[in-house]
């Protein structure tokens, strides 16, 4: 066989003998975003390599944060082969930059495609408005200084303040004194469940019956240290409490069983008087201040009881501010925090804080307290100054 023929055979063999590519794990490409309207967009992707392991799930993760593994998930029904497309599962916020990645999940890995950005269409953002509902002194024999916690039953909101219980009627817009009880001292956590109020004091919950105005002590948290200035939220029939003086531990109190169980500790730094709320069975903790620096913390966390996991969320839009003036609460779908005439709304779907309408106020607000009733947010503040007491309340609504 001639030399030339051998060279040709060698060349062909060299070229063809390279191994074809077999990648162990699935590979997915995120395609460009299409069909962007004022409310929705369509994501596309292509699985270029299925890999050696069964694919359990595929879809997209998207949101307003880049590379957010806890972003909004859209899953495919079934396991597509090749190209797939899904529409956004939440209404887009106007004028925002969004990030989306395709993903494919196997038993041990998750593969993400490149991150694609797109901008939603510009549009009007509803900022809401404030209305002044009470602006007068409060005539009572007690001191109304700061509210430790509040709870609402029907059209009445109750405030636990320094050992006393006051109530406010949303129908008549009037306050009245209810009772005084030492249990109400440091009543930092109070939640309503099945018509009863559960108030935490030192190391146990007390069940308060608003009809009979009686307190019933429930099982004690097996802890020698009394907990004050802590935070807590209700999810289904469980109350999750923790923080306060010198501890990051967290527990859940199962109301229906009257029992306690320790859960994952709070991963952030210890703090007191952090605000808290729960939306869609997820609890949130934010703000609060440490004991030595007395400046507000801006980290913001959520707790998912399904996997007993704390996840850090987007920071509060305020940093190192005076500790006493940051307060928060939530309506059904949004969280809120308020600081010095500024209201911020938290969107738990997109994990984003947005600035709402400013409070038109030129007074120095003392001990502000924020509470929500249905879809309205109330801000209450009072001050006892020499012989002058003033009491003021606004309502915010969209």
């Amino acid at each position: 066989m001639s030399k030339t023929n051998w060279i040709l055979i060698l060349l062909i063999t060299v070229i063809s003998c390279n191994e074809q590519n077999e990648f162990e794990y699935p590979l997915v490409f995120t395609g460009d975003v299409i069909n962007i309207t004022d409310t929705s967009a369509t994501f596309t992707a292509k699985i270029s390599n299925p890999g050696k392991y069964p694919i359990l799930e595929s879809g997209f993760i998207w949101g307003v944060h880049s590379n957010d593994n806890y972003g909004i998930k859209i899953r495919n029904e079934g396991i597509p082969d090749g190209v797939y497309a899904l529409q956004t599962n939440y209404k887009l916020l106007p004028g925002k930059t969004y990030y989306v990645r395709a993903y494919v999940l196997t038993e041990s890995t998750v593969t993400y495609g490149r991150e694609v950005t797109f901008n939603s269409l510009e549009g009007q953002v509803e900022l809401g408005k404030w209305s002044l509902i009470i602006n007068d002194g409060f005539d009572n024999s007690g001191r109304f200084v700061s509210v430790e916690s509040s709870f609402t039953i029907n059209d009445t909101t109750y405030f636990a303040t320094y050992g006393s219980l006051y109530c406010f009627s949303h129908i008549s817009n009037t306050f009245s004194f209810v009772l005084a009880n030492p249990i109400l001292l440091h009543a930092d956590i109070s939640v309503v469940f099945n018509g009863y109020v559960y108030i935490f004091h030192y190391n146990a919950f007390y069940r308060f019956d608003p009809k009979s105005k009686s307190f019933n002590k429930l099982s004690v948290l097996n802890e020698d240290v009394a907990r004050i200035n802590g935070s807590g939220f209700l999810i289904n029939d469980k109350i999750y409490i923790g923080l306060g003086e010198g501890s990051s531990k967290f527990w859940k109190y199962i109301i229906t069983e009257d029992s306690w169980q320790q859960i994952a500790s709070f991963p952030g730094s210890v703090r007191r008087n952090a605000f808290n709320f729960s939306i869609n069975n997820v609890g949130y903790i934010g703000g609060g201040f440490n004991f030595h620096k007395f400046s507000t913390k801006s980290d913001f966390w959520c707790y998912n009881p399904e996997n007993d996991q704390w996840i850090r969320k987007e920071n509060l839009p305020i940093v190192n501010e005076d500790m006493f003036d940051l307060v928060g609460d939530n309506t059904e779908n949004f969280g809120y925090c308020f600081y010095k005439n500024k209201l911020y709304e938290y969107n738990p779907v997109f994990n984003i804080w947005g600035k709402m309408a400013d409070l038109n106020n030129n007074r120095n607000l003392g001990y502000p307290h924020l509470f929500a009733v249905k879809d309205k947010i109330y801000l209450m503040a009072s001050k006892y100054d020499d012989n002058n007491r003033y009491f003021i309340m606004w309502v915010y609504e969209k």
């Binding site: 390279n18 074809q20 490409f29 460009d32 041990s108």
Partner: protein, 233 residues
């Protein structure tokens, strides 16, 4: 590209003019070996579209192609030569506005192409004694070796570290067509210039192109072997 073409044309003028009267008239030969330097560009849409899936093309956004080729041809007939062409190309400088997926990535392509060349008839006396015009066509099969500069995927595993695919070797196949001009400088050596168009199909797991088209300009030297002993009869 324009500058390169100008340089190539000028070089041809130099060599042609030197060869006009200063070397002996050539005799025909059977075997030509061509060695060529190539520059080229890819053609095609910058974005790949498949159903609603849109992704930047790898090949069509590569701005620089260059390489070499080595070709062996045997003259079977006064108008036909048959042979084989081996081409080594590299492509780089990926750019597409607003995207960086393949930025910094490089491709090396090795291909082999059996070739049939249709050429002008050799003449003892006129311009076709030294000169030759030709058209070539042939199938191509090759290997495209991609090396990524940035990872395209993020693969997360709770327990072990997972290596992200950064390289891919993909077979491509297609057709090549060339047109060209040759000029013999001496009995042994000549020069040539060629323009070729290649169309290839390819499949890869690291990009979404399933075909690529390129046009290439080449300049090279020819070594002429197996002269016709019976050249005068």
């Amino acid at each position: 590209m324009k500058n390169s073409i100008l340089k190539i044309v000028t070089l041809i003028i130099c060599i042609y003019s030197r060869s006009l009267d200063c070397e002996a008239q050539v005799i025909d030969n059977k075997v030509n070996i061509y060695a060529e330097y190539i520059i080229g560009i890819f053609h095609g849409k910058e974005l790949i579209e498949e159903k609603n899936f849109i992704y930047p093309s790898l090949y069509n956004n590569l701005k620089d192609i260059d390489g070499i080729s080595l070709k062996w041809l045997y003259k079977n007939h006064q108008h036909i030569s048959l042979g084989i062409n081996v081409i080594l190309l590299q492509a780089s400088n990926w750019e597409y506005t607003g995207h960086s997926e393949y930025h910094g990535s490089k491709i090396k392509m090795q291909s082999i192409s059996p070739t049939i060349q249709f050429h002008s008839k050799f003449s003892e006396t006129n311009i076709f004694n030294r000169g030759r015009v030709f058209i070539e066509i042939g199938p191509t099969v090759g290997l495209s070796k991609l090396t990524l500069s940035n990872p395209l995927f993020d693969i997360q595993n709770e327990k072990d570290a997972v290596s992200i695919p950064m390289k891919s070797n993909d077979i491509f196949y297609g057709l090549t067509g060339n047109v060209g001009l040759e000029w013999a400088i001496t009995q042994l050596i000549g020069i040539y210039i060629t323009y070729s168009l290649q169309f290839n199909w390819v499949t890869s797991k690291l990009y979404n192109d399933n075909q690529f088209t390129s046009s290439q300009l080449g300049i090279g030297i020819i070594m002429k072997f197996k002269k016709d002993k019976r050249y005068f009869y």
